[in-house]
Amino acid sequence: MTVSIKVRYFASLKELLGRSEDMLEFEQVLSVADVWRQATEAKVMPDNTLAALNMEYVDLACIVADGDEVAFFPPVTGG
């Protein structure tokens, strides 16, 4: 079965990659870290990068599922 997910990038990561999102389709079981590798052609992930799965913070080892939204962004600086 094909799994399709949306990958989103914010702030400095969006600028680094030159785009704000990717649609990814694949057949294997992928972790959040695998998603990064696949989407970015294995670019080195900047230190302190945070990951979210469906808008909750997650560890890079989490497994993604069909329809998920994965996001990568730098440390937050609001307030």
């Binding site: 989103r8 914010f10 702030a11 400095s12 979210a52 808008m55 909750e56 913070y57 996001a71 962004f73 730098p74 440390p75 937050v76 600086t77 609001g78 307030g79």
Partner: protein, 147 residues
Amino acid sequence: MIKIISEEFDPFAEVQAYQKQQQALSGKYGATNIFIGTMRDFNEGERVKGMTLEHYPGMTEKQLLAVVQEAERQWSILDVLVIHRVGDVFPDDVLVLVVVWSGHRGGAFDASRFIMETLKSKVPFWKKEILADDQSRWVAKNTDGYL
């Protein structure tokens, strides 16, 4: 209530309007703590002309609500209002407003501070500063509140 807004806003008008709506507060709130974060015209030794605040629509609201709910679990408080600005901002613009209404002052102070600290470390907002020479830079990290 939480609100993300992209227009300049008057924090005092917002507090008053919200408080007026909440009839249940009348007679019950002995303490109100308000924190207002305002854009300064300098940072890390440089003049800052303006700033762009980016956020992650959907996740920002979800995480902000979680912060407020955690504060409501930890302290005996009556109501909370948080408004955060996004988009282009300029010095003296209000970036964030946190209001906590409570029966007694301890909870109002503690919850307000907790919401601010947690917002700054957990809720997805990112600041990009525009310097005097029109160069821009991402703010790398929030301070711990004492710098």
